[in-house]
């Protein structure tokens, strides 16, 4: 018998509301939903006693027990499949990918089972598939993915990515209550960013899926973006303001289904549009948004829609390489200048 004593660790129940970072906001949201609805449960790798790789599920195991906080083998296919099966039984699973990069191992069940179930025989899959995405944290090719464009072409999945703590909590709650499968991407760079710490309301609120948010009003050009790039856009806008350029920033928040009305509304107002995202440029969501604007707001444009995105490579590890890969504030600033001068 081992004489080692297990480390005593008990994560406290999160406050309802109060000042919170993005990761705390998501944890609050899941916790409150599990308290509200006994069908909500968490499933994933190391989500139990350990509390998840990024501690999103910290404390849930002690509070709700092993039946509702299920540790799985290293088996994304099992995680996604089991979430689908439990959802068919009327449960509301919140499945975690340790990193969104590993979503590829559950791709088949997500795109062929979860996405098509309602269409095929009317059985909705009310499940959330969530996990940390995003680059800029020096994690290399396998821990930095932005996976949205893999799934944009799959009808039946919703895709959400918050950029503030308020939205993160409201959106995770909305995702858990949603009748359809939701991919919930959490940018890991934002998890504990002090800049994003904000006071959350103590009431039970949700943020509606499918609605973009104007982060900054402006009249000269629109930057359509989401996730961590919202911060890059804000930094760029501040710089551009000094040059007299008034930038509007639209945070998509939901990537599928797209909030077309908000995108077109902003473009019609400013007549110039830049799509900014962190995933590689080719085949990224930027192309889809640019095509939408070209098809439905062509007469309103004073300049071609431009994309600012990462280069078409895997995400490199070394800081100078990754910085070259990612769109930087300076890139957004110079692209905006060209767009405004067109």
């Amino acid at each position: 018998m081992s004489t080692a004593v297990k480390k005593e660790h008990k994560a406290a129940r999160p406050e309802r509301g109060g000042p919170a970072t993005l990761v705390e906001a998501i944890r609050q949201g899941i916790w409150e939903e599990m308290e509200r609805d006994p069908t909500v449960f968490v499933i994933g790798e190391d989500v139990g006693a350990y509390g998840g790789a990024f501690k999103v599920t910290d404390g849930l195991f002690d509070e709700f027990g092993k039946d509702r906080v299920v540790d799985t083998p290293i088996s994304e296919g099992a995680i996604v499949g089991a979430a689908c099966g439990a959802a068919l039984m009327g449960m509301r699973p919140v499945a975690e990918f340790q990193f969104i990069d590993f979503i590829s191992a559950g791709f088949d069940l997500l795109t062929n089972y979860a996405a098509k179930c309602r269409y095929r025989w009317g059985a909705g899959i009310p499940a959330v598939f969530r996990g940390p995405c995003g680059s800029g944290v020096r994690s290399g090719p396998f821990h930095s993915l932005n996976a949205e464009s893999f799934f944009l072409n799959t009808a039946g999945l919703k895709i959400v990515e918050p950029s503030t703590a308020y939205d993160a909590k409201g959106l995770i709650k909305a995702a858990i209550r949603d009748p359809d499968p939701v991919l919930f991407f959490e940018h890991k760079k934002l998890y504990r960013l002090p800049r994003l710490r904000e006071e959350l309301p103590s009431d039970d609120y949700i943020v509606e899926i499918g609605k973009a948010r104007v982060v900054r009003e402006g009249r000269d050009l629109s930057i359509i973006t989401f996730g961590a790039m919202v911060l890059t856009a804000l930094d760029a806008a501040e710089e551009l303001e000094k040059e007299g350029l008034d930038v509007e920033i639209l945070d998509l928040r939901t990537l599928s289904p797209l909030d077309k009305a908000s995108i077109l509304g902003s473009v019609k107002k400013t007549s110039r549009a830049m799509v900014l995202h962190e995933a590689s440029r080719t085949g990224g969501i930027g192309g889809e948004i640019a095509a939408l604007i070209a098809e439905e707001a062509f007469e309103w444009l004073d300049a071609p829609v431009i994309r600012v995105a990462s280069i078409d490579t895997p995400v490199p590890y070394s800081p100078p390489l990754e910085d070259y890969y990612l769109p930087q504030t300076g890139d957004v600033v110079s692209a905006a200048r060209k767009l405004a001068a067109y």
Binding site: V70, G81, A82, W121, D180
Partner: protein, 384 residues
């Protein structure tokens, strides 16, 4: 210790064979119902030991005939070009699907493969639904959105498969996981073949079910071919049942063409699973007499092989011999059952044929819950 006398070792007896080391693990494979080849002119029938009563035996016969005749009707419809997609036969392996599903209770779940129509019918799905599905009709359970048995009915404990083999194993694992949270006690049978067992999803699903000790019964149908690929190119295992050892679960090998054996083995496995024993693997040895689908000319099958199975090892012939030989039913009684089955098929087929095709615009509905997200109609740019 130099002064210590050297202890003499145990005396070796040169002619005695050394005992083999004890096994690291015990293969928990029961072969009680495993098939044996007919020898000395003996004719194959069915297992003699059974708890089934006469009316149940006749019901089994009815389901076997229903399965075969529904499929034969589908082939007719296919040749009349009324079936839009392909037709997938279970000819020669009906006993596996029917016998295993018949051992379940009404609240238990199944997820079949395309060659388990018999299990679907046993679970209470009507032939008319199958006909309407194959003919892509509006009245089919998927409204023309999906093919053949790709639909489900939660009330009846039937969850249709998808084409991606293996995927349903983790899905059924999740179903049972959800049921356990809801304190519901039922078992689920997931069918898989010698081909489907090569997928990653199969492994991930069964591994997780085994770890969680969920009452999942995997019926592995060894039917010799996956499309054209023989089992020897799917796995290095001689018996699919061997794979159970990798999950720490027990397994049974059953003669898949012995409907009574299939029933008994599944009943036993279901009791084990229901009682908290966890997952079980059942390997059913059977044979696919038709090609992958109707178009397949089976050029990859050795000459005489299909003929042998047809003559000596047809599951329905074997069961008929059993019923007649034991005087459980007369030929006339069996004929009456068949006539009744044909009547049902005629009626159901007529109903399905009378269904309209779906309205084209229905394609746009039900991707998401349409009370939340509107249907995906064609975009304005395509309109005149």
């Amino acid at each position: 210790m130099p002064n210590q006398p050297v202890k003499p070792g145990p005396e070796r007896k040169p002619h005695r064979r050394r005992r083999p080391p004890p096994p690291r693990f015990q293969m928990r494979v029961s072969t009680k119902y495993a098939p044996h080849k007919p020898g000395d002119g003996k004719v194959l029938t069915c297992s003699s030991e059974t708890t089934l009563k006469t009316n149940q035996l006749l019901e089994l016969y009815r389901y076997l005939k229903l399965t075969r005749l529904v499929e034969e009707r589908l082939v007719n419809l296919y040749r009349q070009t009324k079936v839009v997609g392909g037709v997938f036969r279970s000819l020669g392996q009906e006993a596996t699907a029917v016998g295993t599903a018949y051992a379940l209770q009404s609240h238990d779940f199944i997820t079949p493969l395309i060659r388990d129509l018999g299990a679907v019918l046993v679970k209470g799905i009507r032939p008319r639904d199958i006909f309407a599905q194959y003919m892509a009709k509006a009245w089919g359970p998927s409204g023309g959105r999906d093919l053949n048995i790709h639909f489900g009915d939660m009330e009846k404990g039937f969850i249709g498969p998808i084409s991606h083999l293996g995927d349903m194993i983790p899905v059924m694992t999740g179903l049972l996981l959800g049921a356990r949270m809801q304190k519901k006690n039922f078992v689920a049978v997931a069918y898989i073949g010698d081909g489907g067992m090569s997928t990653g999803a199969f492994h991930e699903g069964l591994n997780f079910a085994s770890v969680q000790r969920l009452p999942l019964i995997v019926v592995a149908e060894y039917n010799h071919y996956a499309y054209s690929t023989p089992t020897s190119l799917q796995t290095a295992c001689r018996d699919l049942a061997e794979k159970a050892a990798g999950y720490g679960i027990p397994a049974h090998i059953v003669d898949g063409n012995d409907v009574i054996g299939c029933y008994e083995v599944t009943k036993h496995a279901a009791e084990f699973a229901r009682g908290g024993g966890g997952a079980v693997l059942i390997e059913a040895k059977t044979y696919r007499r038709k090609g992958h689908a109707e178009h397949d000319d089976q050029r990859y099958v050795a000459e005489g092989e299909i003929q042998w199975w047809e003559t000596h090892n047809d599951p329905i012939d074997r069961f008929e011999k059993y019923l007649l030989g034991r005087k459980i039913a007369t030929k006339e009684e069996l004929d009456e059952i068949v006539a009744d089955v044909v009547r049902e098929i005629d009626e159901d087929c007529a109903w399905a044929e009378s269904s309209p095709m779906p309205e084209a615009e229905q394609a746009a509905y039900r991707v998401y819950d349409n009370s939340v997200v509107p249907p995906a109609f064609r975009p304005k740019v395509l309109e005149n």
